[in-house]
């Protein structure tokens, strides 16, 4: 069980946790800025390996972050901005791969394996139970 001292430590910890974020190029409206930050986390930096636009130090990433803010300020939706970027750079810029016939195996494969293995195990367990009941 959790002791009071540990509980107190956790309380201190949560009290500190705020979600503030400041950037030199931030949009004035915090709601729009939050959208921009969310969006740049979903897009990949194209020149560095495995980082999102959010964390990359590359100049191209900085340009694209600026691009996102300009478009948001123009009133475009997240989807419109993504579509523009996909048209220019291809699906590779999306952190989340699109769902289309080419990626069905990628998206459904894990659950296919799960169902397949699960069925085999169901059969194995059923047989083991029959043997177990037979013996008794």
């Amino acid at each position: 069980m959790m002791r009071p001292a540990i509980l107190a430590a956790f309380l201190v910890l949560f009290a500190q946790a705020s979600l503030a974020q400041t950037r030199p190029d931030a949009l004035a409206d915090p709601k729009l800025e939050a959208r921009a930050v969310e969006l740049q986390k979903e897009l990949r930096c194209l020149v560095c390996q495995g980082q999102s636009l959010d964390t990359s130090d590359a100049p191209l990433a900085a340009d694209l972050r600026h691009f996102i803010r300009v478009r948001i300020a123009h009133g475009e939706t997240d989807d419109q901005i993504k579509q523009e970027l996909v048209a220019r750079y291809g699906d590779v810029i999306l952190m989340e791969p699109p769902l289309d016939p080419q990626t069905y195996l990628l998206w459904f494969g894990p659950f296919l394996v799960l169902i397949l293995c699960g069925s085999v195990v169901a059969v194995v367990v059923a047989r083991a139970r029959n043997r177990s009941r037979h013996q008794n």
């Binding site: 949560f14 979600l19 503030a20 974020q21 495995g50 989340e96 791969p97 293995c117 194995v124 083991a128």
Partner: protein, 643 residues
Amino acid sequence: MTGEIGQLALCLALALALVQAGAGLWGARADTGAALDLSRQVARMSAFGFFAFIALAFGALTFGFVTSDFSILTVAENSHTLKPLIYKISGVWGNHEGSMLLWVLVLAIYSALMAIAVRGGARLTSAALGVEGLLAAAFVLFILFTSDPFRRLDPMPFQGAGLNPLLQDPGLAMHPPMLYLGYVGLSATFAYAAAALITQETGSHWARAARPFMLVAWIALTLGITLGSWWAYYVLGWGGFWFWDPVENAALMPWLVATALIHSTLATERTGAFRSWTLLLAIAAFSLSLVGTFLVRSGVLASVHSFANDPERGEYILVLLGLAIGGALALFAWRAPGIEEGTSFEPASRETLLLLNNVFLTAAAATVFLGTLYPLLLDALTGTRISVGPPYFAVTFAPIFIALLLLVPFGPRLAWRKGDLLGSLKLLAPGAGLALLAAIVIFAIQAPHAVAAAGAFALAGWLIGASVVDFRERWKSRAIGVQSFASVLAHAGLGVTLLGIAGTTLWRSEALDVLAPGQSLQVAAYQLRFDGVAPREGPNYFADRATLDVMRNGRQIATITPEKRSYPAEGQAITDTSIRTNGFSDLYVALGDDRGGGRWTVRAYFNPLAPFIWFGGAIMALGGLASLWGRLRPNALRAAPAE
């Protein structure tokens, strides 16, 4: 001269590996006890000799690095006289050639340990040494033909090119040897599994013989992944700890399958259950190690790990991969129909839980496999380029793994063959209570992202609470030994890591700003006052060191000094982050660009519970160590079955 000694040692080692393979496999088919004994002895002696010569070659290369012998190409390309001694030594494996030599050295150590091990019976040991010898020969050939570490350079340069500064780090000096200890340890498990198929001794003998090796491999993989993640966290400068980067995935896949393997072996070892499945897992675990090696070493992926891109190397590893995996699977397909599977157990039993563990871990490994290889294959086949990033794994890997974690506490509570489901639920009530309490606390204090946080904390509470129950139950039963703590520690470690992941991802605060001296930046409850940047000189780099006073409630509590270092020899610059931790949370500060006029970009993060991620990994490894300890006691060795 040392270079030639190293090269000669490699050639002699190759010859011995071939003798080991021939004698070992011949022994497996020998008709008489005397012939079996002789060939097994020859294979054992060759394994010791192989180790000696590989150690000599490795020593020769290390000597070249320590003495900065730039007439050796590998040394000239990856070392520098001004580098501190520790990085001269770690530079040996900070490049492709040397790291393959390290791989073979680890293989030689395992090979020698297999020759010393007494378990498993003469015929099985002989066959296993034979298979390990084949692998050893293939890798030494790979080194000699495509990755000669001792190639000479004429004329000899006056100075070396240095080591990638990202690799000049104590964490990274330890990470590759640890990971290789894991990857290659699975080769021993693979060898025993293949030997069991060859000799048709597929009962519990091979599992008992292979168990210590798979535990060592699993511990090393756990620590290797933990170290790698920690390194990425403090070196890459933005506070992330896992990127679903293909190279990380290459280590995660064998870990997932090895975890499945150490669980299914529990049943095979004890009752001879799930024989074919455990054999298949042993083959799969090492196959994924080879896939990982291929991905990292072939240059298919560009990353800090792929030192040089050379298609010839990739092709060689691909052929090796095909032969090893294809050969083992063919052997399995040939022998599997003859394997007797006749265990009986009730649905509510430990056997069922172990099978479920394997189902979820296999699906999790398949997810990582798809996510890593699918983009490569799609690009190669259709030219379509996609990225598989964290959002993909969040909706595939995460639910599968969460389902697994929910089931974890039941495993140790259900008895073999026939367990008591209702009784186990009653016993686990304190775990459920702790889970509920954790969720209530999260909602009560209105933590950010309360729903996700409550779920994660409840799951962690369930795991940790159940581990406490596990400990109590084992303590009450008379048969208490160090190995009893294996599941207690390993499962609690999962809960601790989960807390760290949840805290860091859900509650991190982030601040980024351009600061002039005297200005400050607010992150969470801390105020960082920027005092400016001063130059500093390191042994082989120049640094710009920023000084920031950490203030809390208007009082200064610490000073932190993040740096930007530039390495003139290598012509590269890196950020050296400054992290202040209290064991519960990290204050993480990185220095960005010089914006002129004494103004600098400063990036700061507050990462609640971040240290738990790595504590959890260490606790899991301790659990593995406890299981290993129990198996290496003197009487455990004496209890080894004769053939």
